[in-house]
């Protein structure tokens, strides 16, 4: 059972922020009924050399929508992994100044958010997100 793709359309920006907003909506299969009652929570994520900041440190269980903005100079991406290192979802590479959204359901637990380009994670582009009951 898949969730609907949410299509975001955005113009190229002037004066302040440039970037096209793409939605990379990735959905994992799961029990649809349970999910329907659960909320979708947005988490803003800022990427720059070499930090990854998630604007919420914890969210309730349900669907999480990561809104990644690349404030840096180089390309970055966002990868969501379990603590054990299993990859759950990822965005494509996001160029400097651009944004992308990644949406997926997360069960309670702690997750790693990293940029997995080159050695970015080792340089500091990593953070965690807790999903509560």
């Amino acid at each position: 059972m898949t969730e609907a793709m949410v299509v975001w359309r955005r113009t190229v920006l002037a004066g302040g922020v440039l970037g096209a907003l793409l939605l990379a909506a990735l959905v994992a299969a799961g029990p649809a009924d349970a999910r329907r009652q659960l909320p979708t929570t947005s988490v803003g994520v800022g990427a720059r050399e070499y930090r990854l900041a998630a604007y919420r440190t914890s969210v309730p269980r349900g669907t999480v929508r990561f809104n990644l903005a690349n404030y840096g100079e180089d390309g970055h991406d966002l990868v969501v992994r379990t603590l054990g290192g299993h990859e759950l979802a990822r965005t494509g590479e996001v160029r400097a100044g651009r944004r992308v959204t990644l949406q997926l359901p997360l069960a309670p637990g702690t997750y790693r958010l990293i940029c997995d380009l080159a050695d970015h994670e080792a340089r500091g582009m990593r953070t965690t997100l807790k999903v509560t009951r």
Binding site: A14, V17, G46, A54, Y55, T57, R99
Partner: protein
């Protein structure tokens, strides 16, 4: 009448009877003339609805509300015209008793409430919504002023929102307090590399902009910049996982040597630098002129600057009395029939929504503000935006024209089915549209052009079918409302 006055009057009467009689006759004549004049004035006031006390009209109220905020609704214009200049200024400058509140319902966009922290664009909508619904518009206007003055850009949203809240708190208080908070603000410190500026490697960015852009303009040297940079060392950034930063001060990283700065010598620290710059003779005129140009399109005379500087200094560099003095100044009320200050994009959009009683219901203001050239939280540089005529270009004008579509279709000025029969006269159609968009101030030429449009809008229809062409009548209303909102006159305030 004082004892002395009575004695004097008695003496005058006793002194010269014929002169006194002539004087009494003259006084009677003057009183009669005043009564006649008073009756004429009353007639004149009666013909102008709600003219209020002499010299304070609806036009004055609109001017003040646009300059100090985001415009006035027709109800506000009538109410405050009656209450007089002082009461209106008190209200505008001090805000409502009990502080600012947001009237009405929280906006819902795309079926959800705003999440300014986590949803892209919601931060802009959140601020715009404050401008539309606040009971204290001057506070939001001054927050916008300070956001431009202490321009910070390109920092993570949590920090920009925190800075915004700080600017709002400090917007009308002591400038020195505001300056202190800005200096310690995380977004600003990261933006201008003040965090991490240590005694071994002092960074001059903040020190330079502090003097050039924030407080003085001129009157300092490169050496002052270097010495100020030394005095401002010691801050470091402590990063948290959630994208916020705490600024710590490490005495070990501070250069505590003696500095020579703006003609003074001493082991200056951060607060000393800030004290010195605001005490500098160039500071008051610099800030006065900048604040003036935010509210008034034409430059102040030297005497005006002197008087405002005196007010600012006499009030310990507090912002509110200075702002009040500018908002009371007659120059702000010149040419009430021909507004001359270009509305910046934020004021234009927020004003269109606020005055028409519309709300934030969609996300279009974000990209519209970007293409108009003013995207909040992203000024183009630490020098902020370029104001006044610089907002205008054929491209930005095209975008401003587009706003009309959104306000007329999704805002309060929506044309309701059956509300605009095609059989209205051109004059009636115009008046209906004009009232629906909050009675904007337009020139006679604009009015004539729109009435002309209304008069010919049905030319291609068979006259026999005119009374069935309500759809065309509604289209005319939409067109008139749109044009009234976006016409050149409405780009000025």
């Amino acid at each position: 009448m004082s004892a002395v006055g009575v004695a004097e009057a008695a003496q005058a009467v006793v002194a010269d009877e014929p002169v006194a009689e002539a004087a009494r006759r003259r006084r009677r004549a003057r009183r009669a003339a005043r009564r006649r004049h008073g009756r004429r004035q009353a007639h004149r006031r009666a013909r102008q609805p709600s003219a209020g006390s002499a010299g304070w009209t609806e036009a004055h109220v609109r001017r003040l509300f646009w300059r100090a905020g985001f415009g006035a609704t027709p109800v506000e214009a009538r109410r405050w015209a009656k209450r007089g200049k002082t009461a209106t200024l008190d209200f505008v400058v001090n805000g409502p008793p009990g502080g600012a509140q947001l009237r009405g319902l929280e906006p819902r966009v795309d079926g959800r409430t705003l999440d300014p922290l986590n949803e892209w664009g919601d931060n802009v909508l959140w601020w715009l919504d404050r401008m539309v619904r606040t009971t204290y518009p001057l506070q939001e206007k001054m927050t916008l002023f300070w956001h431009d003055h202490f321009a910070t850009s390109d920092q993570d949203t949590p920090m920009m929102l925190a800075q915004n809240r700080m600017l709002r708190r400090r917007a009308l208080g002591s400038f020195r307090d505001l300056l202190g908070d800005v200096t310690r603000d995380p977004a600003m410190q990261l933006f201008l590399s003040l965090a991490g500026s240590t005694k071994d490697a002092p960074n001059e960015n903040f020190a330079r902009e502090l003097m050039e852009l924030f407080t003085l303009g001129t009157g300092y040297s490169e050496r002052d910049v270097r010495e100020a940079a030394r005095a401002l060392t010691g801050f470091i950034a402590d990063w948290h996982d959630n994208g916020t930063v705490t600024i710590q001060y490490e005495a070990d990283e501070h250069d505590d040597g003696v500095k020579t700065l703006l003609g003074r010598r001493g082991p200056f620290g951060v607060d000393d630098v800030l004290d010195l710059v605001v005490a500098h003779p160039k500071h008051a005129p610099f800030l006065v002129e900048k604040l003036w140009s935010f509210f008034v399109a034409t430059p102040p005379s030297r005497e005006t600057v002197r008087a405002l500087v005196a007010t600012y200094r006499a009030n310990d560099l507090r912002i509110k009395p200075l702002v009040r003095a500018i908002l009371e100044h007659p120059q702000l009320y010149r040419k009430l029939d021909a507004p001359d200050l270009v509305k910046c994009p934020v004021v234009y959009v927020a004003g269109a929504l606020r005055t028409t009683g519309s709300h934030i219901v969609q996300g279009y203001p974000t990209w519209l503000l970007e293409t108009m050239g003013q995207y909040p939280f992203y000024p183009p540089s630490v020098a902020g935006w370029d104001w006044g005529p610089a907002w205008m270009s054929s491209n930005s004008m095209r975008q401003r024209f587009t706003l009309g579509n959104y306000v007329v279709n999704y805002g309060r000025p929506r044309v309701r089915r059956g509300s605009a029969p095609a059989t209205l006269t051109a004059q009636e159609a115009y008046e209906l549209a004009w009232r629906a968009v909050a009675e904007p101030q337009v020139s006679p030429a604009t009015r004539a052009a729109l009435v002309h449009l209304a008069a010919h809008f049905f030319d291609d229809l068979d006259p026999d079918w005119r009374d069935k062409a309500d759809w065309r009548g509604e289209a005319l209303q939409a067109t008139l409302r749109h044009l009234l909102l976006v016409c050149p006159d409405s780009q000025l305030h």
